[in-house]
């Protein structure tokens, strides 16, 4: 497996405020696939994604991404791991407010030895005309596209998206999803998308359900519906 967790457990707090969020999660994701992690609010989806991305430490178990044992990394090595392998997209776009779209993307371009072509990326994302605007001058969808560009420019092997469409209307959401689909096809990027939107699971290869910190369902779609045909976004 390209991405694999075994017996992954994660808890927060102590004593009265102790919460066992992940109670032994075993999942495996192949290279280049699009995977959706779904579940009710508070079930532990974001936590699982953060553990995969090395943003959060784990209690027990193992997390392996592209042959690297993430749980063993610390400090600068962890940062290097993320720099080399990962792209993140968040529900709130977290763009640097006083950098333009192009500059926001450039920040991450520097991080890679073989970055994607900035202009091509802007073209693909339909952001060319907005390249020199500041985030505050953009709509939510445009900002999210900028955030995606920032995550992709360093050509990561894995793209982790936490609620990428959470703050967007259905039209914009569809655009973003189509974009992800296109990128997956073009760059063969492995994508893990956390969402509680029920239709997104139909456009991906692999669907994992999390319930109360455990994997409750884990299956591959026989048939994929292209993003443009998704309903109820």
């Amino acid at each position: 497996m390209y991405i694999e967790t075994k017996g992954l457990k994660k808890s927060y707090g102590e004593g009265g405020s102790f919460v066992q969020v992940l109670k032994g999660v075993d999942i495996g994701i192949r290279a280049g696939e699009m995977c959706v992690i779904q579940g009710t609010s508070g079930s532990g989806k974001s936590t699982l994604l953060n553990c995969l991305g090395g943003l959060d430490s784990i209690d027990t178990g193992s997390v392996t991404v592209a042959g690297t044992s993430v749980e063993k990394l610390k400090g600068e090595k962890l940062a290097d791991y993320r720099r080399k392998n990962l792209g993140f997209i968040f529900q709130f776009y977290n763009l640097v407010p006083n950098l333009t779209v192009r500059e926001n993307i450039q920040v991450c371009e520097y991080l890679s030895k073989s970055p994607l072509d900035m202009n091509e990326l802007l073209e693909v994302l339909g952001m060319s005309e907005h390249a020199d605007k500041f985030p505050s001058q953009l709509s939510g969808g445009q900002q999210q596209r900028c955030a995606i560009a920032r995550a992709l420019v360093k050509n990561p092997k894995v793209l982790l998206c936490d609620e990428p469409t959470g703050a967007l209307d259905s039209k914009t959401s569809r655009d973003i999803l189509m974009l992800l689909e296109k990128i997956n096809a073009k760059y063969d990027t492995t994508m893990i998308i956390v969402t509680h939107n029920n239709s997104i699971k139909n456009m991906v290869d692999h669907v994992i359900y999390i319930k109360d910190g455990e994997v409750s369902k884990d299956y591959y779609n026989e048939v994929k519906v292209p993003a443009c045909d998704l309903e109820d976004l």
Binding site: F88, N94, L95, E103, A147
Partner: protein, 1022 residues
């Protein structure tokens, strides 16, 4: 990447131009102030050191009684030490100021000329520059002195009078009252011969050791030099010397007398011994004679009783004779009175006869011849009768006289016998008394005999006692012999010190006059350096509050960038680069201003020029200064900010993403059931603790600077006020050659110069013995113990001494320590003195009972100037005391303004920052319907609590810090001490000023509250 971050940061500046400008002004101003001070100090210190070499500044100087003779000088010079005469004469000139006149310098402590040239002819002179400045003297002016007039050809300074004070113990320079003059040797000699100087010539030599020996060596050599009394012409010295020698002789004589007395005593005791031996013999003989004495007494007694009975017979005979004589006396008395009656009758008869005779004669002459005839014959008869009866009358008179004589003889006989008779009784009783007495004597003699026996025993004891006495006496006499020889040695030794020619030995390190300016600015250098760093830290901290604000605001963005692999250093760079650049630019501007503007280093140096007598110097910029001004602001900004935001940037990307606030315990404080607004205020304060802390830090620094100014003010003010107000005498004279009689109206004192060390400086302290009735100094607390002393307030404050403490003073030569106990502190402020009982002081220094060498008075006294060492008047003290305040005025103002600016800017920026941070909340509460006034109460007025609390802590804290730092470091080199205490109104004033400034700022900030619109809520969220 870094370029991008820089670009981002620069866009950030635009938003906060005001903030950055204000901070840059602060930093620039601080750098300017600090560099001006430091640059000035470093320029002075550096160039002074250079001048010390160029001018061949002395390694020290010594004063002698008489000029060294050729042999002594040769000895020094041949050993490699250089020596130059710096003899001087003091003259009072027209305006009452005093000029000390020297010969031109050839070798040591050379004169630097500010203008003109040295004196070349005998009517030319160089005058000291500070004196010229104060008196408006220019080259070419004529200057009258000692009855001669000189043309001023040069204005300059000498390094040994860098601090041009008249006496080394003077607190402040007063160039209005004192200056120097340098003339040609021949002009000097002619002045000297005129003899108009205020006091005797001072024989000072400056020396340079040239590595040939150490100060101790030189001092030892000089101490060996004795002077020949005959060499000294000074009549006052001669008088003094005779007195001294006389005292030595008196002492020696006294000891000789003691010795002689002991010898005589020994002889006397020996005589006593032999006398007692004789006594023993005598008493023995007496004892032997006793029986004879007793028998003699018995014979005497029987003789006496015979005598008594004989006297009885005699007395009865006498009394019989007495009775006969009395009767005889009576009979003769009667006869005598009969005779005198007869004589009187006879006289009458005689008178009748004479009348008859006269009548007969008259009738005989009648014209009637019958009558005449008859009468004539009758007359013849009567005449015969008269002649015949006068013979009878004469016979009768003789009988009467004879009986009268017999009567008086009989009465004398009777009186004699009566006396004899009455004495018989006494004779009788005398005889019996004699008999009794002899009886008593007989018993007495018996008792005597017993007594003599006892006496014999007693005398024997006496004899042995005297033998012991003789032994003791011999030991005593030996002791006196030893004492005599040792006392003689000691006296020789004691009086030997005084024949040493060395009066004062003063190495350069102990000479307050030399290198005073660099010493003084050294303090400025260190305090400026320190305050500069503290200020830069404060400003960096203020910046860091802004940075932290941005970091917090952009926390999730930072988290996102981290997640993507952006390094922490790059992010930190992004936040710190602009403040660092701003600090750097401000530092550059501050440095440029300090270095190039006339109100920078040059004006700071001018303050030294206006006080000390210095050679010309220009501002110098040393590398350290540039590093401090150009590098330090940026470096401190970077360091402080890195330290402060490091904590935030080391948080995990996740916590940044979630924008988790660090759990601050204080925030969890249970606030109970308080009213909404107070509760809200407290929450707001707790939330803004960092900002609040910065405001208080700023207030602390501002207060430190302001309190420094106030401390300086109080210090100078008190020097000025108390020096004068608490000087109760008008004149203080100290003698070089004391006289015997206290001048009329003066109060004598014994004045001994001692020293005491303070923070590496050696200060002169006068140990003054006073009579208890001295009206100028309060001596009431002084007890009876000799070691008890009263301190002048200046001394007590300088050395932090209080009643009951013990302390020591060091003698001028450094060889002796005197220990004292503080019995009281009086109000005298003008110089450092320790007062003790005059007799105790005389004893301490081995002076005679009537010795004195100083006189205090409330009016000028008639004392020959040649006797005097110095004269200090209250007027001198007054004019010197004002110098401090004048020289400090500009510094005090600058510091107060600087403090106020720092406080206002820091507080404004920080409170504004709080409001900015709360802008969203403010607009939110406005949406809820709160009014501006209420919002002000919630967000602004709570700060009042912080300011008040901060002031209540910072004011006393700053004062406490200054109470320690000010006397111990900043004015450690000033030879006086003062109460540092502030009057209450100063504290009140500072507190009020803080509140006033706070009120002003909060009014300005209220405008920004009013400007915050509810619409902001909508804008602020993406």
């Amino acid at each position: 990447m870094y370029g991008l971050m820089l670009r981002r940061a620069c866009r950030d500046i635009k938003k906060n131009v005001g903030r950055y400008l204000a901070l840059m002004v602060l930093i620039g101003f601080a750098v300017y102030m600090v560099l001006s001070m430091m640059g000035s100090a470093m320029s002075i210190i550096d160039q002074s050191a250079d001048y010390d070499v160029i001018l061949n500044v002395e390694d020290g100087q010594f004063t002698v009684f008489v000029p060294l003779n050729a042999t002594e000088l040769d000895k020094l010079i041949s050993s490699g030490v250089s020596v130059e005469e710096h003899f001087s004469l003091d003259y009072e000139v027209l305006d009452g100021s005093v000029i000390r006149v020297f010969k031109n310098r050839e070798d040591i402590d050379l004169i630097t000329l500010h203008e003109g040239r040295l004196a070349e002819t005998d009517n030319e002179a160089v005058l000291e520059r500070r004196y010229c400045e104060e008196h408006g003297i220019k080259i070419g002016d004529t200057f009258e002195l000692g009855g001669k007039s000189f043309t001023v050809t040069g204005i300059g300074a000498a390094p040994d009078y860098n601090m041009p004070v008249r006496n080394l113990s003077d607190t402040a320079v007063d160039s209005v009252a004192f200056g120097l003059m340098f003339i040609t040797p021949s002009a000097y000699d002619s002045l000297l011969s005129e003899g108009n100087s205020m006091k005797s010539e001072d024989y000072v030599y400056a020396y340079r050791l040239n590595g040939a020996m150490s100060d101790d060596d030189l001092k030892a050599i000089l101490e060996e030099n004795e002077f020949d009394v005959a060499d000294i012409d000074d009549p006052f010295f001669q008088e003094y010397w005779e007195e001294m020698v006389g005292r030595k002789d008196d002492l020696l004589e006294g000891i000789d007398d003691l010795n002689e007395g002991a010898q005589e005593l020994r002889d006397g005791v020996n005589d006593l011994d032999s006398g007692v031996d004789e006594l023993v013999d005598g008493v023995g003989e007496m004892q032997d004679a006793m029986p004879d004495l007793q028998s003699g007494a018995n014979s005497l007694y029987s003789g006496a009783s015979d005598l008594s009975s004989g006297i009885g017979s005699y007395t009865s005979g006498v009394s019989a004779a007495t009775a006969g004589a009395n009767e005889l006396n009576d009979g003769i008395g009667q006869l005598s009175s009969g005779c005198s009656d007869l004589a009187a009758g006879s006289d009458q008869y005689m008178a009748g006869l004479c009348e008859l005779n006269d009548t007969a004669y008259a009738l005989s002459l009648s014209e009637d011849p019958f009558t005449a005839q008859i009468a004539g014959s009758f007359y013849q008869a009567t005449s015969g009768l008269v002649a015949g009866y006068s013979g009878i009358d004469q016979g009768i008179d003789s009988v009467a006289q004879g009986t009268a004589a017999a009567s008086s003889g009989a009465s004398e006989l009777a009186g004699g016998l009566n006396t004899l008779d009455s004495n018989s009784a006494a004779l009788n009783s005398g005889a019996s008394s004699l008999q009794n007495g002899i009886g008593e004597m007989r018993t007495g003699i018996n008792e005597l005999s017993d007594g003599v026996d006892e006496l014999v025993d007693g005398v024997d004891e006496l004899d042995s006692g005297v033998d012991e006495l003789v032994d003791g006496m011999n030991e005593y006499a030996d002791g006196v012999d030893e004492f005599t020889s040792e006392a003689n040695d000691l006296i020789d030794e004691v009086f030997d010190i005084d024949t040493s020619n060395l009066v004062v030995y003063l190495p350069v390190a102990d000479n307050a006059r030399i290198d005073a300016a660099p010493d003084d600015v050294k303090n400025n250098l260190y305090s400026a350096m320190f305050v500069g760093v503290v200020a830069l830290i404060l400003f960096a901290y203020v910046i860091s509050v802004f940075v932290v604000h941005s970091v917090d605001q952009e926390s999730s963005v930072i988290g996102a960038l981290y997640s993507l692999g952006v390094r922490r250093s790059a992010l930190a760079f992004g936040y710190i680069v602009v403040p660092a650049i701003a600090a750097f630019i401000a530092g550059v501007i501050g440095t440029l201003v300090a270095v190039y503007a006339s109100f920078g280093i040059p004006s700071n140096m001018q303050e030294s020029f206006d006080y000390y007598s210095m050679p010309d110097m220009g501002p110098q910029v040393q590398p350290f200064l540039l590093i401090y001004g150009l590098v330090l602001p940026a470096v401190i900004t970077i360091l402080v900010n890195v330290l402060v935001i490091r904590g935030r940037l080391t948080r995990t990307p996740l916590s940044l993403l979630k924008n988790e606030q660090k759990a601050v315990k204080a925030r969890d404080i249970k606030l109970g059931k308080m009213k909404f607004i107070p509760l809200f205020r407290i929450r707001q304060l707790l939330r803004e603790m960092r900002t609040g802390f910065t405001v208080i830090f700023g207030m602390f620094l501002a207060l430190l600077i302001v309190m420094l100014a106030l401390n300086t003010f109080i210090y100078c003010y008190r020097v000025k006020e108390l020096n004068v107000a608490n000087t109760h005498y008008e004149y203080m004279y100290t003698y070089k050659y004391p006289e015997k009689e206290v001048p009329e109206g003066g109060y004598e004192a014994v004045f001994e110069e001692t020293t005491k060390e303070f923070e590496g400086y050696n200060f002169d302290v006068a140990l003054v013995g006073l009579t208890r009735n001295n009206p100028f100094f309060d001596m009431s607390a002084l007890g009876d113990k000799d070691s008890e002393v009263i301190l002048s307030a200046s001394f007590a404050y300088k050395y932090h001494l209080s009643v009951g403490d013990e302390f020591t003073l060091t003698s001028k030569d450094g060889d002796k320590l005197y220990a004292f106990k503080v019995a009281g502190i009086n109000d005298y402020q003008a110089s450092m003195m320790v007062f003790m009982d005059i007799d105790a002081c005389r004893d301490l220094f081995g002076e005679s009972n009537d010795y004195f060498n100083a006189v205090f008075s409330d009016h000028p006294l008639e004392i020959e100037s040649g006797r005097l060492n110095s004269t200090t008047t209250k007027k001198d003290i007054e004019s010197a005391s004002g110098v401090f305040v004048d020289s400090m005025k500009s510094l005090i103002t600058t510091l107060i303004i600087a403090g106020a600016v720092i406080f206002v800017v820091v507080m404004y920026l920080m409170v504004k920052m709080m409001l900015d941070r709360a802008a969203f909340n403010i607009s939110l509460v406005k949406v809820f319907g709160f009014k501006n006034g209420e919002v002000k109460k919630m967000y602004l007025d709570g700060n009042m609590i912080m300011i008040v609390a901060g002031a209540l802590v910072c004011i006393p804290l700053c004062k406490a810090i200054l109470n320690y730092v000010y006397p111990n470091f900043l004015v450690a080199n000033v030879n006086t001490g003062l109460s540092q205490a502030f009057p209450l109104y100063i504290y009140g004033g500072v507190f009020a000023a803080i509140l006033f400034l706070y009120f002003l700022i909060s009014q300005v900030l209220f405008i920004s509250i009013k400007r915050t619109t509810p619409a902001l809520v909508l804008k602020n969220r993406e």
